[in-house]
């Protein structure tokens, strides 16, 4: 899995935002905000990653239970798919 390359994700005034560029910005001119975990996962997905890769990365970064991390990742991916943000 990988995030479509048309999006820019950045921190602005302490919050993480995602905005479209290129052709995508013609169809979608809005802005998405992410929390810290979301931003972390988004950065991971700049390159092709499996769900397992994401889990390992998250367990390394955050002190969290495996089951919680897995649920968070699955929830995040679901949202990305719904919003058609994955390649």
């Amino acid at each position: 899995m990988k995030i479509k390359s048309d999006y820019v994700m950045r921190e602005v005034a302490g919050t993480y935002v995602v905005v479209p560029t290129g052709k995508t910005s013609i169809d979608f001119s809005g802005m998405i905000s992410l929390n810290g975990t979301g931003a972390f996962l988004w950065k991971q997905l700049a390159e092709d990653k499996s769900e397992q890769d994401l889990l390992s990365a998250m367990l390394e970064e955050y002190e969290t239970e495996k089951a919680t991390a897995r649920a968070d990742i699955s929830e995040f991916l679901k949202k990305l798919k719904e919003a058609d943000l994955l390649e």
Partner: protein, 244 residues
């Protein structure tokens, strides 16, 4: 090529239609050397668009297109256009922003009535330019200022941005950074689809939010609404200045 000085930038523009020429008149300048922004009107495209949008006259089309082209280039110069009505009072600018039909111009007009038209200057009634120069934010008038072409060729220190919302009672509050980023982004003129410029725009908004208070005001159409905004903005400024 005609030359203009707009928002502190030199603009070279190929002979324009009558309306634009008239509106640009107070921005004319004698400039030698290379312009910051060069704009040329694509006559062929203008003709084609004219067929597609018959309700727009060539003059109107040109006015809209040049305004858009200008706004798109601004992030290269640490600037952007915000969809807002901008007033200057005592050398400070307040921007009233929000979606179409919120009453931005109406509120600006109330300021003119309340403080007097000799004290309140409309900088730009629709799309003022915000620029950061040596870490200070300024608001500029431009010839592109919406239907009523209300603008003044001046530069004023930016004091506050207020997003308006129609309501029965007047209430003003500071927006959180998260809210403010979204509101600013939605009401800013996006620099097309260019990744680099979008990044620059976001960098600029980040800097703006560190310096400039951003509010939301629920308001009716009354002098009470004017006082609500004015008192809040002045009070905060005095507190900030006392701390220094």
């Amino acid at each position: 090529m005609n030359h203009y000085k707009i928002a502190g930038l030199t603009i070279a523009m190929e002979g324009a239609c009558e309306t634009l020429q008239r509106l640009m008149k107070s921005y004319g300048a004698n400039i030698n050397g290379k312009a910051d922004i060069t704009m040329s009107i694509d006559r062929e495209k203008m003709h084609k668009t004219g067929e597609e949008y018959p309700h727009l006259s060539p003059d109107e089309w040109e006015y809209i297109q040049t305004g858009y082209a200008f706004a798109c280039k601004l992030p290269d110069f640490d600037g952007f256009c915000l969809h807002a009505s901008a007033v200057a009072l005592n050398g400070r600018a307040v921007l009233f922003s929000g979606p179409c039909g919120t009453g931005k111009s109406t509120h600006t007009h109330l300021w003119r009535q309340y403080f007097g038209p000799d004290r309140v200057v409309v900088i730009n009634d629709d799309k003022p330019v915000l620029r950061r120069i040596e870490d200070i934010f300024y608001v500029y008038g431009t010839p592109w200022s919406g239907k009523r072409a209300l603008n003044t060729n001046i530069r004023v220190l930016l004091s506050a941005v207020v997003f308006l919302k129609q309501a029965r009672e007047n209430h003003i509050r500071r927006l959180s950074n998260k809210e403010a980023v979204q509101m600013l982004f939605y009401q800013s003129q996006r620099p097309g689809s260019d990744r680099d410029r979008i990044n620059r725009l976001l960098t600029l908004m980040d800097a703006l939010l560190q310096k400039i208070p951003v509010y939301q005001m629920d308001c009716d159409i009354s002098f009470n609404a004017v006082k609500t905004a004015y008192n809040e903005i002045c009070q905060l400024r005095m507190e900030t200045e006392n701390k220094r």
